[in-house]
Symmetry: C2
Subunit: 330 residues, 2 copies
């Protein structure tokens, strides 16, 4: 399964494609880069992995990232893709009040992709887990060939004996608070569409690199994963991951809880209608001490829908992949 | 989330595309079709699901199916796709000796796909779970848009207190046995390539339909899921899912267990080198009573590799997605 000591001339290891190397050798090069999971009882290499679930339950969520609608290789490095695939799934686990324990990752890529693409994705998964959810690791995966680069992550979490925090648990009078950035991911994406495309509107890697400092929130988001269990311990009545913008996601919490959410002070348009912040929106009872990771952005009141400083929000905003992605544009 | 009572003229419900309907309405039409899982503590609709793990561990495996390398819409019905996505993952869980409990399913499809495509996949998942692993259901999922129809399933299982059956546990002297068909899936695929393409070699739905009876093993396989836990209870020392043909998969068991496997009597070429049977290959101690689901096909002996009737098998065979799929061919 190891590479031969002497690679053929003109074919250095860094230029190998998936088709040159084959599935077994690709796996042999990727496995050592993946992070180990503390909860792993049996890892990659058999038909399935075995993971510990000490409290007799586990939290599970799945999410796919597709080249085109979800990312562009001209803008995202392979490391970004692995990082973001981990981050967005870890945020869903955290939003239940659970501690992320493990991921399984399925990747489909064109056969002429460099092996370095998969190695970079693996490194991003490793660093994303290490930074955002130490102890969480990759316990299994699958490699396939596809004309469209696709990364599917399923993430697991441990509730540590707590009741899961649903989006439906908010009560009238609760304080609404958020941990993490608001609108920064959407602002960064707009910046990329404005400043990192060439004269024909085609995404450009060099231009994206020059904007790196101000686009990291989109390309390699840092959701506040540890704040999820902290909120649960502090008594959060409801929580969700802000993946589609505050208007849509606060609306989901309001609808599921049978009340209205009044956002005050007025959020920015990007916070309301931009997606992919992966911050945590939580409701706390009026008397609760709000954890330091959270800042108050509103109140749960009788009624329905989302209000901004007392005025009902008409525009629902948010991101619908089937309606809003124009393949010609990206 | 329900459809309007009167659809616009010329746009009957059956012709709706994902782009017409939007993600929320698609989910509302699909969720009711999905099978419920007995182990589900919290199902679809929140950031993550919660699943019971009564013995404090869970088995997890993930696998992706891609249009082109893994299936063709001209040959497989949407129901076939859901069925096969369930069946192939359930077989990996069963091969650990575990009882399948739950699936999460991520689907990416072109925006102009009919909603009926996703409804058919959901029905296939439901019927596959009900027939092959009663009590197993879908606890969560994700919908995305992609130019390439992609189905990613992650499956979970309950070891019911047993030690997982690995591929590495076979011992010299063990009896090698198989539950399920051998080579039928590959024979069916060859039949489709020979008889269900038009004069230009393009897959043809009408021709495939006429071959349905003899191609079901490929399009909607019926792996012996219940035989996995039965083998574990009967004392199987090693087990794996036959996804890449007996030559490659028996070789994996032999290599992981540090011995050789002698297949006797001589298997067919399709059993040796064809993939996707998803039957279960198991090793039993010499004294064990072999369960009725299994038939003896060989012995574990000292040495390495795979032998057929005592003769070492040179050709390794099997399926490598990066090396062997020619997109031009299908």
């Amino acid at each position: 399964m190891t590479k031969p000591q002497s690679a053929p001339a003109g074919s250095p290891e860094g230029d190998d494609t998936l088709g040159d190397v084959g599935e077994s050798a690709v796996l042999a090069r990727i496995f050592p880069r993946l992070p180990a999971a503390s909860a792993q009882l049996l890892g990659p290499g058999d038909d399935a992995a075995v993971v510990a679930a000490p409290d007799g339950r586990y939290v599970v969520t799945t999410d796919m990232m597709i080249h085109g609608p979800d990312f562009r290789l001209a803008w995202s490095t392979p490391h970004d893709l692995g990082w973001k695939a981990a981050a967005s799934n870890l945020a869903d686990v955290a939003a239940m009040g659970a501690v992320p324990t493990a991921l399984v990752v399925a990747i489909a890529a064109p056969a002429d992709s460099p092996v370095a693409l998969l190695e970079g994705i693996a490194d991003g998964l490793r660093d994303g887990c290490a930074d955002l959810a130490p102890g969480c690791g990759v316990v299994g995966g699958d490699l396939s060939v596809s004309p469209t680069l696709t990364i599917a992550v399923t993430a697991f979490g441990d509730l540590e004996g707590r009741t899961p925090v649903l989006r439906s648990g908010a009560r009238v009078g609760d304080v609404i608070a958020v941990a993490g950035v608001l609108g920064e991911s959407a602002a960064a994406l707009r910046l990329l569409f404005e400043g990192a495309v060439d004269a024909d509107g085609i995404p450009d890697a060099r231009l994206a690199e020059s904007l790196r400092a101000s686009t990291a929130a989109q390309l390699a988001p840092q959701p506040p994963i540890a704040a999820g269990p902290i909120a649960a311990i502090a008594g959060a009545t409801a929580m969700l991951d802000l993946s589609d913008g505050l208007a849509l996601d606060a609306g989901r919490m309001a609808s599921a809880s049978g009340l209205a959410i009044d956002l005050d002070p007025l959020p920015t348009a990007e916070a309301l209608f931009g997606g992919e912040d992966h911050s945590l929106l939580a409701a706390f009872p009026p008397g609760a001490e709000i954890p330091a990771e959270f800042r108050v952005i509103g109140r749960a009141i009788a009624g329905s829908g989302v209000l901004v400083a007392g005025v009902p929000l008409e525009k629902s905003g948010g991101w619908d992949p089937y309606r809003e992605w124009d393949s010609a544009a990206g």
